[in-house]
């Protein structure tokens, strides 16, 4: 994990991609949630995955984390095949879901310590790592508080601490800032960008367009398909829009029209949220 961080002088698009998917597909019965998804995320990149609800973002993340098996296609994360090298993949990733995955009845320090131990940290290594996380994620003074009693912003940072206890080179964030106040959102993204500067690859979904505009690159998904890919400026230009938000709204309208047409014909192509 540290090796990959120190060796990122120049991000390489091909071969050295942190996340690489080829024609990835996921179908739940007749429902196709993700179709023909091919993209590469470079090391140290903050990559935003955008799209309306049900466009296949969460399904994509769940496939990349090994929570769902792809129906077709292939994907590698940190150089390991998602389909066949699940265990290696899981050592290299951090995953933060909308639910945060915290134990409300454990304290801040117990949560971090538990996940750290699960990731194989012990003794002084673990203690040092916990101290760093507590300091960098502004959790000082809260370490003996139960996670269930924390505010939204603190819970979110604690969840990030637990997900990155093992310093993973790739971090997946699934709507990490939903329901958190603006100041906490800003602080959270500062932390995320700091991690990226140190070489951690971030793949995040969000519905906040200010967050999307700060990503290095964006991918727009609609009804399971990748429909736009590039820097925020490129994507905005591609759609002849003024801002990322405008692109998003355009896409959503387009989506709704298609889905109405789709309903008249058949129900193929509608994405699934989870």
């Amino acid at each position: 994990m540290t090796a990959s961080q120190s060796s990122v002088a120049v991000p390489v698009a091909d071969g050295g991609a942190a996340i690489d998917t080829r024609a990835l597909r996921k179908a739940f019965g007749t429902l196709v949630a993700v179709e023909g998804l091919t993209l590469a995320v470079k090391r140290g990149e903050v990559f935003g995955l955008l799209g309306p609800n049900g466009s296949g973002k969460t399904t994509t993340i769940r496939m990349l984390c090994g929570l769902l098996a792809p129906s077709a296609g292939a994907a590698t994360v940190a150089g390991f095949d998602v389909g066949t090298e699940g265990e290696q993949v899981r050592r290299k990733i951090g995953y933060m879901s909308q639910k945060y995955g915290l134990y409300d009845d454990l304290t801040v320090i117990e949560n971090i310590s538990f996940y750290g131990t699960i990731y194989g940290l012990h003794g002084s290594t673990r203690a040092a790592r916990i101290a760093t996380l507590v300091r960098e994620l502004d959790l000082e003074g809260r370490i003996n508080q139960y996670a269930g009693t924390l505010s939204g912003g603190l819970k979110q940072r604690l969840a990030l601490a637990c997900a990155t206890a093992h310093e993973p080179p790739v971090v997946f964030l699934d709507e990490p800032t939903a329901g958190v106040d603006p100041a906490s959102r800003r602080r959270f993204w500062e932390i995320i960008h700091t991690m990226a500067r140190r070489g951690t690859t971030i793949l995040a979904t969000t519905h906040y367009m200010d967050e999307a505009a700060r990503c290095d690159r964006l991918a727009f998904m609609s009804r399971g398909h990748l429909i736009a890919l590039g820097t925020p400026d490129e994507v905005t230009k591609q759609f002849g829009a003024m801002s990322v938000e405008e692109v998003f709204i355009q896409l959503q309208h387009q989506d709704e029209r298609k889905s109405e047409m789709g309903k008249r014909k058949s129900n193929v192509g509608q994405g699934v949220g989870r």
């Binding site: 090994g66 929570l67 098996a69 990733i93 639910k99 995955g101 699960i118």
Partner: protein
């Protein structure tokens, strides 16, 4: 998704098993409701079944009409008093007086010792004493009749000639229902702890999203599952020990057979029920559902296993359902070992059934759990 279940080469030392177990105990300590269920249930059940629900009746107000007035007749009265079933409240002067007192309801039983009692005893002619019981309460009367026969049996012991004896209760000379109920309580409480509490603990992780969070870590499914259910097996053993000790201290339950054998055989029962708890957790989506489903398992366990009612008296379909409950077989082992000093040679059939059940249920549940987890 693709992590396989690797039981044989499971490395406890370096695995994430221990942190799981540790975490589980911390949570257990802080969850007041669960803790209350684990500690309170045995206490409430012990009190309910040990004290409140008595199938035997003790301390019947009793009068004595002693026409013999000898050391022998007084000895008989003492023995009857010592059974605990009769409280000698007065001496009656005549049979008429006894009739009045029983009719009035103030007296439930009377002992009449005829004038020739001691004389016949000495001559070895077989002495007789009469017992009058208020049969309006059949439970009380049958208890009194039983106790009277014990008293007469004791009177006959020590080389003296026989006093009339017909009923001879085995294994439970004091006719205490707690001797029957308390060992059963061990089995019932293990079921509750292992099915209800285990399934709720797993479903809670699913509800809160921590199960998903764990699945994306390198923790193996084996560590995850074993780390999650092992603490509850330990809790089960602790509960069992507490009930046995309390049963011994408060209710003087005999602990006759090999406790080692009992604890060993209990492992099969514990694994079977952990499997059921795991199974419930794979079906239930919420803690409320887990609770409801668990109680669906609990009711037949309480009613049809022979815990409260003898299975022999049940209609056949109820007996069949009872036969597929692990508790039914475990109860036989509990009562067999604790009350009748039964060994493995007497209990092998029940033991085999339990082991088969444990293997079957855990295999099924582990497979289901693996599928639902990722």
């Amino acid at each position: 998704m693709k992590f396989h279940f690797r039981f044989p080469i499971f490395d406890f030392r370096r695995s994430a098993f221990w942190p799981m177990v540790r975490k589980e105990f911390i949570q257990m300590r802080r969850d007041r409701l669960t803790l209350g269920m684990m500690v309170g249930l045995p206490a409430i059940q012990l009190a309910l079944f040990g004290y409140a629900i008595r199938t035997e009746v003790r301390h019947l107000p009793t009068v004595v009409l002693d026409e013999s007035r000898t050391a022998q007749s007084r000895a008989l009265v003492d023995i009857m008093k010592n059974t605990g079933y009769f409280d000698i409240v007065a001496a009656a002067r005549s049979r008429d007086a006894i009739r009045r007192m029983v009719q009035g309801g103030e007296i439930r039983a009377a002992v009449i010792i005829p004038p020739d009692f001691a004389h016949r005893l000495k001559r070895g002619q077989g002495a007789q004493a009469q017992m009058i019981v208020d049969a309006a309460d059949p439970l009380a009367s049958s208890a009194a009749i039983g106790a009277a026969s014990i008293a007469s049996a004791r009177m006959s012991a020590g080389g003296r000639p026989a006093v009339e004896v017909r009923v001879r209760p085995w294994y439970n000379p004091a006719l205490k229902s707690s001797s029957y109920i308390v060992p059963g309580l061990v089995g019932l409480l293990l079921s509750i702890t292992l099915i209800v509490i285990t399934s709720m603990a797993i479903v809670r992780e699913r509800e809160r999203g921590t199960l998903e969070q764990l699945v994306v870590t390198p923790i193996t499914k084996t560590s995850l599952m074993l780390g999650k259910i092992t603490p509850f097996a330990l809790v089960g053993y602790v509960q069992m020990t507490v009930i046995l000790i309390l049963g011994k201290l408060l209710f003087h339950i005999p602990l006759r057979g090999s406790l080692l054998l009992l604890y060993a055989l209990s492992a099969a029962f514990i694994v079977a029920n952990l499997g059921l708890g795991l199974f419930v957790s794979t079906v239930a989506q919420t803690q409320a559902q887990a609770m409801q489903m668990s109680f669906m398992f609990m009711l037949p366990n309480i009613l049809l296993s022979g815990y409260m009612f003898p299975r022999e008296a049940m209609p056949e379909p109820a007996q069949w359902i009872g036969a597929i409950l692990p508790l039914t077989h475990y109860l036989k082992i509990l009562r067999g070992v604790l009350l009748r000093e039964a060994g493995l040679e007497a209990m092998w059939r029940e033991s085999l059934i339990l082991v088969a059940f444990a293997v079957g249920v855990i295999a099924l549940s582990v497979r289901r759990f693996s599928k639902t987890v990722g």
